[in-house]
Symmetry: C2
Subunit: 439 residues, 2 copies
């Protein structure tokens, strides 16, 4: 790679290359261009988008792309190999070829900003190690919770804390669906169809609805918060597709709101990491996060409880996070301090099985409506150490009844053992729902 | 000042000196000591508290101060003049002698962290200019909203945005008092006495109750958000001492919650900056911020709406912010990049008189209970361009009646003109309350 001494004076622009120009890329580009004079003052050197690469410039959506003075790059590799580019902004999405491009950019001693949660969750270790090796910056604020500055808060502002617990609403699609179910009484399928019509959900909604997206984000947040690498496969994951209006309605009656939560906590035995629909007590600040909004609630050893709230997706909010990263890196370039914030996964903490979780549970089961059933179930629960906080029997049709239980705190493995025995009872038709409860 | 080349190797500790060891100082010290191994890894160099200065070590509260290896400095000047100190942490409070000490520390090429809102609000210009001149860091996250990382968010994460509007609950004392009035129906004096008993309010509560504290914080936040220096005297300020339960109760009836808000906004004509009790619509996320908690709601050109929530005071939360700043500066020292985040007050924006504000108003007035009064007041309002959204007449005793108005948006100067004429009416006994309304 040629030396670029002449390009490091304070008058020379810091050159940026974009890989991808979809929702996120265009939002970042617009944010950058709209505020360039102020950003230049903040950095102390001019910034310029030198080139933009997309898969196919002939697609109609690029016809009017406002590229200003940026060049249309031949392809993504041309950006990554361009010796004049200082910062590569990866907004293509997907793991490949993004990973190869980002790694090559780092090897070429370029700094990288990415909005790609899947990339960081799946290949973060390798990518962060390469950045550290080269002494350059890799930043990915936009990969989690759109415009909400949670990653920088964890890495810098809260860096003096031991993070004890973190609860996030980090997937706008499922939060929109659950909000519709709660506020308007739609069934899941109706709310999903509406989310798809409004562009909040993909045609194939699996990644959102089954909690994959939230698990990516939790693995990224947890790696930073707990200073120990968390692979996405280590996150216990349950989606929201099985929820019915009955569960939403019981939540209301019992003083809870159903939310898909991403929860990370450190216990003396290790880390517990899980994504699942949850009965969240109505007094918790996260219950007021509705629609497509995101929020992350953090408990730190000194700071106590803090919460960050905002738009978790969208072109400009995500663009705001990308540009925040660009400015941070540009300031490092200006002060010859790239690599200033290396990877902080210093530890190798044990990650516990979800069965180790100690929490309250909400259980809904259908049983035969005859005497003694409630008693037999309660006995099994008691024998396994599951203490009942409240119980509600209803919908007695003469043949079938529905029993809803909320337990006190219990280790999950004990509850699972009890439920196996309950399920085996003749009088129990099925255990419809089993959700964890957060107060 | 002697050269300290030998002290810049990665093995040599970065030395910290504390000025003051009260609530904030002790919280910062404890946070730092509790997490030192992790902090050392994050910075890439060890950190050590070399010395601590307090006014009088003989006070009983210092008898058991856990100073570890830190020395008890002769006085604050000894810390500021010590060539081995790299970072001075000012937690003494008050403007003098803090300002002289901080300025001398900066002249001695030391970096400074301060938790002192009054210092930054009153002497910020001079202090930030001196830091820029010396190429060192001055950081003050703890000066606003305790542990909530709002300053770093505005300076870094949201740096790509033009900030349009900012609404803060930044004074825990008044928020505690208003929460008690709202939730338990206490009168102001009762709630204040309780806040004093719990240590949330000072013996002399003027600084909190009259909005001075919130005005300091707004002047700091606005200077950063709007990139233009705001002096605290330029913030319009009204306190909460005049509020009665009647105002709280009407708020509830009309769908509002009364909060002391610090509001900064940029209009095409200039900046509007004001601290006052406000009727805030119950759907606004800030209404759920109760007790001594703080929150800041920000609207940016790209990020849209974001909110930051947490503990606005207290030893450890404030200590968390101080240590976040220490870590940031230590990373800059490690990478020879101090001065990386200089003052960003590039502009000199016009600051508008509060009379230019365009907002809705809540008005409560006592009038003679006779025919035609309502009509005459309504006519005056209408003639001055004040359009009425709702009106409520009650408490008719036969002699006196109470009229409560909520207006549509109107320029404040027009409302003031109308109120002068209303006040002059024989039938109007007094205008009890006039509050601005936020939706």
């Amino acid at each position: 790679m040629p030396k670029r001494a002449s390009r490091t004076s304070d008058a020379a622009p810091i050159n940026i290359g974009f890989l991808g120009f979809g929702t996120v890329g265009a939002g970042a580009f617009q944010t950058l261009c709209d505020n360039l004079p102020s950003i230049t003052l903040k950095v102390g050197r001019p910034l310029a988008v030198k080139s933009v690469a997309v898969r196919n410039w002939n697609q109609p959506r690029y016809a009017n792309a406002p590229l200003c003075t940026a060049q249309r790059a031949k392809d993504a590799w041309a950006v990554v190999e361009d010796p004049e580019i200082d910062i590569v902004v990866e907004c293509m999405g997907g793991v490949e070829p993004a990973a190869e491009l980002v790694l090559q950019a780092l090897r070429n001693h370029k700094n990288v900003v990415t909005a790609n949660k899947e990339l960081i969750a799946r290949r973060g270790r390798e990518i962060l190690e390469e950045a550290d090796k080269q002494g350059v910056d890799i930043q990915f604020e936009a990969a989690v919770a759109g415009g909400i500055p949670i990653i920088r808060a964890l890495k810098e502002s809260l860096a003096g804390n031991r993070i004890q617990r973190m609860i996030g609403i980090v997937n706008g699609t499922t939060n929109y669906i659950l909000t519709q179910m709660t506020e308007r009484g739609c069934e899941f399928t109706t709310a999903l169809a509406e989310a798809q019509a409004k562009g909040y959900a993909e045609k194939d909604p699996t990644a959102d609805v089954e909690g994959h997206d939230a698990a990516y984000k939790l693995s990224i947040l947890a790696s930073i918060a707990f200073e120990s690498r968390v692979d996405v496969e280590q996150v216990h994951r349950e989606g929201i597709a099985g929820l019915t209006l009955a569960d939403i309605e019981y939540a209301r009656q019992l003083g809870y709101v159903v939310k898909l939560l991403a929860i990370g906590e450190e216990t003396p035995a290790g880390l517990l990491l899980r994504v699942h629909p949850t009965y969240l007590h109505h007094s918790h600040p996260l219950t007021s996060v509705s629609g497509a909004f995101n929020a992350i609630w953090v408990q730190g050893s000194s700071v106590g409880k803090v919460m960050f709230y905002g738009q978790g997706a969208g072109s400009l909010p995500t663009g705001s996070a990308v540009v925040g990263d660009i400015i941070d890196i540009a300031r490092n370039i200006r002060h010859k301090a790239t690599g200033r914030l290396p990877c902080t996964c210093f530890s190798n903490k044990t990650i516990l099985d979800v069965n180790e979780t100690v929490t309250k549970f909400y259980l809904r089961m259908e049983v035969a409506d005859r005497p003694g059933v409630l008693g037999r179930i309660a006995t099994i629960l008691g024998n396994e150490g599951v203490s009942v906080a409240s119980v509600l029997q209803s919908n007695a049709s003469g043949e079938e009844a529905e029993i809803v239980w909320v337990t006190h705190e219990v280790q999950e493995v004990k509850l699972r053992r009890a439920l196996e025995q309950v399920q085996a009872l003749d009088a129990v038709k099925c255990i419809r729902t089993c959700l964890r409860v957060e107060d």
